[in-house]
Symmetry: C2
Amino acid sequence: MSHMEILVIGGVAAGASFAARARRLDESAHITLIERGPDVSFANCGLPYHIGGEIPARDVLAVQTPESLKSLLNLDVRTQCEATRIDRAGKRVEIRDLKTGQSEWLRYDKLMLAPGASPLRPNLPGIDDPRIFTLRNLQDMDRIVTATATGMRAVVIGAGFIGLEMTEQLQRKGLSVQLVELQQQVIPPLDAPMAALLESELRHHDISLHLGDGVARFEGNEAHVHCHLNSGKVLEADLVILSIGVKPDSELARNAALQLGARGHIVVDEFQRTSDPDIYAAGDAVETFDRILEGKTVVPMGGPANRQGRVAADHIFLADKARPYPGSVGTGIVRAFEAIAGITGWSEKRLIAAGRPYEAVTVNDNHHASYYPGAKPLTLKILWEPESGRLLGAQASGFEGIDKRLDVLSTAIVAGMTVEDLCHLELAYAPPFGSAKDVINLAGFAACNRRDGLVAHISELPDDPGIQVVDVRGKPLAEAFPAPGKAINIPFPTLRANLDKLDRSRPVVTLCTFGKMSYFASRVLAQHGFDVTSFSGGLKANVDPRTPAKLPNS
Amino acid sequence: MSHMEILVIGGVAAGASFAARARRLDESAHITLIERGPDVSFANCGLPYHIGGEIPARDVLAVQTPESLKSLLNLDVRTQCEATRIDRAGKRVEIRDLKTGQSEWLRYDKLMLAPGASPLRPNLPGIDDPRIFTLRNLQDMDRIVTATATGMRAVVIGAGFIGLEMTEQLQRKGLSVQLVELQQQVIPPLDAPMAALLESELRHHDISLHLGDGVARFEGNEAHVHCHLNSGKVLEADLVILSIGVKPDSELARNAALQLGARGHIVVDEFQRTSDPDIYAAGDAVETFDRILEGKTVVPMGGPANRQGRVAADHIFLADKARPYPGSVGTGIVRAFEAIAGITGWSEKRLIAAGRPYEAVTVNDNHHASYYPGAKPLTLKILWEPESGRLLGAQASGFEGIDKRLDVLSTAIVAGMTVEDLCHLELAYAPPFGSAKDVINLAGFAACNRRDGLVAHISELPDDPGIQVVDVRGKPLAEAFPAPGKAINIPFPTLRANLDKLDRSRPVVTLCTFGKMSYFASRVLAQHGFDVTSFSGGLKANVDPRTPAKLPNS
């Protein structure tokens, strides 16, 4: 029994998890939870879904109340209270009651900082228009619910995870939505081709996309907000949602001279200790370890926040038994209407920017046995370290089974698995659930083929007229949806009989719909002495992403 | 260019995969595929689903034809041909054409045996009744389709994977179905409690279950087959489906004096080579390596068959680059109506039978965020090695997300992960896909709590009147669905204030609905000096498996 004085600043994911675990480990500690807002431990990831009515009942989002935390966990919860100052030498925190304006000092033996992160609100002309919203808590959500109605026009700025969720939910509520994103794609953490399905799905649902464009200023009049974009476009809106990212709420830590990272996040060690050994921090305000490559990373997500809170409590109360936080891989998933895409680990663009060597393949398959009703195509990209074959990242997009593939690959990545290991993962198979060779196995096969020199891939068709591009799709398809440039159509089944139509002295690139037949063709040609490269991922020219992919099975 | 003569016996999963990979690796080889039946490379896992009409079109099950294999892979396919003899010294196989009755010898440089396995048909009285069916190929399927019609009564013998699929599909076609199983549970590879959901789902769909009972003999008259069970029960049926397991078709290998395992499976090395280095074998007829514990195992499943075929082809054509088959973990999944259950790795009963030390926990949660519509409860059991914490197996049951958890855990198992590693898997989370702390993380937490001595679990309530059983559910629930035996009801929120109602000198067992609140209570009591054990997995007395589990969140 420690009878320790534990003070927690921030009562949502990291703070609440910390407090719950602390109580589980020590009945005698006095645990005080300080929360600036009126709610504790609410389901912040659910906020967009209530705005669109997909989660109809508001009260399911208020997971706990101060009263329930008292009765379940014997916590002393103070909402609408703000921590204004840390006196590290005196081991006390100044708390201001936002309802009364009065301040007092609370003593601590151990302090947990879980302040979270605030939505960015850049200092643009017109930004203070009350019709420009951000979304962090239940009150923000309530304001947006009140401000929105069928028939209105909304502009969402920022096509990240929250931006896409908000876009879908506002559309669901009957608003017409325009989506603005500075990058040339939605969900910037993804490599652009892996975001293409989300973009086509958004357009399919009449969302106007303004990619590669940002907002320069806002102008409000009585009726509308006008969003002036960098491109000169002006979007007229009844309301604007700003979802361009978050910044850590680390002022309290900064003022207490705790060590901060380059982007203002609180620096912590593997037990979530800040530069002051009696002060811990967890959640969206901290910097954490990259679990794949050396270095630090920031992963403002609910999962890591919850688990970091737990690690900190273990370190305080379990002593030697406490296990370090192993760092994050950065797993994210988003649904836009029916399309789903996600990432785990490093993307190609991030590897390029960091100057890290890598290789990548993209494969296509259905999410379960093609012959079982309801099969939906999905695309999977994996990235690995050339020397070792160790996985560095994966991305998937499609309509079903995306979360499953990301979860398996996230697990494989933290286990340090190689692409060879993917070949023999033994995944659950019955026709409604998977395939005898899952798309993850196929990605492993493709990567190993490449490592073994059995196939060379390119991801863009060549312009060089000296290269022979061979389209091995069937004739009707090749005619109806011709490959770009000057391709020779030799349907794969006739390839062996038509080798004399190709010039052995010139390089060949093979292409098909999904990249598989093109690989087959490249094997035939390579063995007949051709210098051949397969166009990876396929043309997909005629592919409806909602109907099962017709892939060659052999 | 090898110009090798490759002969493949068996043209379904392992044989077809082998032949396709061989062709990809060597254009010059002459590859002959011998198949006893009229079809090659058909979707055998899809057969039950066509019988029930869930896969309406028969032709989607015929994945390839001899003609398509010729045009895509330049294979010489001979269907309705049987390999009758191997002359190992002469490196040739005698092939009998079942259509003409004529035989010829075919030479080989390398021979692949992929004969598969046949459904068991025990030598019981009356077994030859033509209304007693087994299911292996499209012709068996067609016979069952013809023999079944709405209103008929079917008896399915054997409640394994195929037995459950057939039960559901016959019911779907409008038959009434009785299911007989020798074990006291369905899906014998599962531990009994993990099969309970499937059993309740089958009963919910009016399937009569006869568990712990086997068939002694059949008696047919003009109208019906009577199934006489060991218990004395007689089940009257219009038709019977026998699905009690398979035996390897290894006679050809046996006659050629190739080494066989104890149960008649062909023995192969890690490159799928039999005891004759020019003869390979793969698929349901072979014995393979257990990937978790030492020793051999048999996994007659489509996934391993396909991948073993590939490994063998690589060994022939890639020389040093060939990678060994790493063995199997044995992953299986089955759906019975809406309920789903599956396993990867070792079960508790198998560990007990092998005398291996293990520990296990069972946890409950919803398959995605509880507050997001459509959340369905699931139960997850994990097993590990006590010393190292290394995972040995996992089982899951529920209505959604079962395949995902099995796939992650199968991956974790082959990676050699420990229960500690499960705590920090970073799985894809947005409310439609998961939870901030996935049930896999929770299983890791529970296992670590146990390893750290923070909680002790029991899986059966004690009879000993000296033990105080404390039911920490709310009063209304405890009264409406009382715990078995003499439990004291102290709702968890009132526990801290009522410690004096318990006798500190006597052991305490805590219980609740899902096992979580009971764990919370055990932490409170342990810290107040009680000798306390938590009832693992919970009572679930009032739980409808189709509605979201209401779990304490803190």
